[in-house]
């Protein structure tokens, strides 16, 4: 176990590590553009260079193996001067687009320029121009002028997503990042990760382009419900203090973008997770109904309670999008009355990747495993419920009401507006993932928590408290 010194302080390292790895693991933030913990070493940006004590020159730390008693300085005069020169060279032809660049506020080049006293360009020659807003794919826009050719994106497609679809064409200072001409990058289901990887504003999400300044947004930890992998993500939405008054209220509850949090497989999510907003920006159900007639929510709950008490053979189709907390509430409060079957609320859409060798799972529901842990039996499409089932409680999506036994009464709990809700005996609108907190269990058994992004609208109910209301009448008659 070699021991090295960084700026005079000792750190334990592992044989085979580089100085950069040891530094970053211990909170010493040596700057880096091209280095990334999940990618191979490129050593091309040169900004990470440090000074070995006793030498008068600098060497890149991302490719410097640790040796016993190695002593490096990350903040000597020599290193500081060196960094300023690298920043001069890196920004030589970099357009001063900050005012219109999406990356502003989270850009490594900006950050290092400030932290390491970058100075205005000393060049007297016009900047070299290049392609701006090149469509690398329908989802990703590339500005070659801003690109500093760190090649993180290229290495990502070769080493992580394995589409091998990005590369560098031409030579010297006319080098360009490009995708292969067969459009393979557009078929890379993980393409959007390059937006996070890009240290500057060269690679941008076309969907997010000019949508919002990042400092108006806050990230809320959540879980992607796109499949049973359950990647931990950050959902970005407007900070409450930056609430828009004049514009549509919808903007204040919009998910502006999605980024990965740390996951066991690395800081990556697939493109479906990036489109989280599309899960939630569908018409909501706001109105409780009794046999299709709009009623007050408590009226609908009373009606539902009556149906449940009067049923002799009730079935519940359990939502695989329910949180573990909601599932536990149902189990504790209502389950003994019901035969429970877990259903897949969502199936893969046409054209959607089913399962791959990396992250994408065929099960397109976030909490199948959590639901099965509470209720071991599954319902599959086409499975007929027994004829003597007299009440079907449909929790969530994915069950066609028309396939309920003809004599059964139906209670539907759903967040999303559908014409069939009016055909149920009782309909109660539910809250969605962004309006509450909870946990999901992914297919591997890993439990991940999500937090509420927005307050729950009054018109809808949380399933947990709904179940408590429905169960109240099972207690012995209590004094009101």
């Amino acid at each position: 176990m070699p021991r090295i010194f960084i700026d005079g302080k000792p750190y334990e390292a592992k044989s085979g590590q580089t100085v950069m790895e040891v530094a970053r693991a211990n909170g010493v933030d040596i700057p880096a553009f091209c280095w990334h913990p999940e990618l191979s070493i490129a050593g091309n940006c040169r900004v990470c260079a440090v000074q070995v004590e006793g030498r008068s020159w600098v060497e890149i730390s991302c490719n410097m193996p640790v040796t016993e008693d190695l002593k490096v300085l990350t903040d000597s005069d020599i290193v500081r001067d060196y960094r300023k020169s690298i920043l001069q060279l890196t920004t030589l032809n970099h357009p001063v687009d900050c005012g219109i660049c999406d990356k502003s506020g989270e850009c490594s080049l900006q950050d290092y320029h400030y932290e390491h006293n970058g100075t205005p360009s000393i060049s007297r020659d016009a900047k070299v121009h290049s392609t701006k807003f090149h469509k690398l794919s329908p989802r990703i826009t590339l500005d070659n002028e801003r690109c500093i050719l760190c090649t993180r994106c290229v290495r990502f497609t070769h080493e992580v997503s394995k589409s091998k679809s990005l590369g560098v064409v031409q030579r010297g200072d006319t080098s360009l990042i490009r995708g292969s001409e067969d459009g393979a990058f557009a078929r890379d289901d993980y393409s959007d990760n390059v937006v996070d990887l890009c240290p500057v504003g060269a690679l941008l999400s076309t969907a997010f382009l000019y949508r919002s300044r990042v400092w108006y947004l806050k990230p809320t930890p959540s879980v992607c419900p796109g499949c049973a992998r359950g990647c931990a993500v950050d959902l970005w939405h407007r900070k409450p203090e930056w609430k828009l008054h004049a514009l549509e209220a919808r903007k204040n509850v919009a998910i502006e973008r999605v980024t990965p949090r740390e996951n066991p497989h690395g800081p990556w999510i697939c493109n479906k997770g990036r489109d989280y907003a599309s899960f939630v920006e569908r018409p909501r159900a706001w109105q409780a109904m009794s046999a299709g007639t709009p009623v007050a929510t408590h009226t609908a709950i009373d009606a539902a309670r009556l149906l449940i008490e009067g049923a002799r053979n009730p079935f519940v189709l359990v939502s695989s999008w329910a949180s573990n907390e909601e599932l536990a509430a149902f189990r504790n409060l209502l389950a003994e009355r019901f035969t429970a079957l877990v259903k897949a609320d969502r199936l893969a859409q046409p054209g959607e990747p089913m399962e791959d060798a990396f992250l994408i799972r065929a099960d397109k529901n976030p909490n199948t495993r959590g639901a099965l842990a509470q209720f071991p039996n599954e319902w599959e499409i086409g499975m007929a419920l027994p004829a003597d089932c007299d009440l079907v409680l449909v929790w969530g999506e994915g069950f066609d009401l028309a396939s309920a036994p003809p004599k059964a009464r139906t209670i539907v709990l759903d967040a999303w507006d559908k014409p069939t809700h009016a055909t149920a005996d009782v309909f109660i609108p539910l809250s969605i993932q962004t309006e509450r907190a909870g946990t999901y269990t992914n297919f591997e058994g890993r439990v991940t928590a999500f937090e509420a992004c927005f307050p729950k609208p009054d018109a809808v109910v949380d399933a947990e408290s709904l179940f408590a209301s429905l169960a109240r009448s099972t207690l012995p008659a209590a004094a009101e």
Binding site: V168, V169, G179, S180
Partner: protein, 159 residues
């Protein structure tokens, strides 16, 4: 590219195990020799044949000065303008060539017969200035020799 596959198979057999990727340069050179340039469809065909990512071939094509993805003149003239050739009159020679052919470096004559390009050091410094014509070295050149070279190639076209 199909008619070249047998040749490529033979070449592959000479390389050690696991050297498929190395075949990219020699195969592109052969394709270019055959067609005059590398066509778009050659890229996909070669990638599939060698089992290398398509982007690798696109990257290589744009990196190396000798590969081209569009035809050049039937008689392609490259004139060195590096240090020793410049010390021995390459600039004047290139001007002369340019005026004689009526094109600038990087261009092709309207009839597709001649194209002109500048080149960097060809290791002919002792016999400067020099030009390369369709890959063949012509050294110790001057305006008169260049004129004769152009005429000789014009005559060839007429035949």
């Amino acid at each position: 590219m199909k008619h070249l596959v047998a040749e490529f198979d033979a070449l592959r057999a000479r390389f050690p195990e696991g050297f498929s990727s190395s075949m990219v340069l020699p195969c592109l050179r052969r394709i270019q020799e055959d067609r005059g340039y590398v066509a778009d469809e050659d890229i996909g065909d070669l990638a599939a044949y060698l089992g290398v990512p398509r982007i690798q071939i696109e990257e290589v094509l744009s990196f190396y000065g000798q590969f081209r993805r569009a035809p050049v003149g039937r008689c392609h003239i490259e004139a060195c303008r590096n240090v020793s050739c410049s010390l021995l009159g390459a600039e004047r020679l290139i001007d002369h060539l340019s005026r004689k052919l009526g094109i600038r470096p990087g261009e092709t004559t309207a009839d597709g017969e001649f194209s002109l390009a500048t080149a960097e050091c060809m290791a002919s410094c002792g016999t400067a200035p020099m030009v390369v014509v369709n890959g063949k070295y012509h050294e110790s050149m001057d305006a008169a020799k260049v004129d004769a070279l152009i005429e000789a190639n014009r005559v060839k076209a007429a035949e």
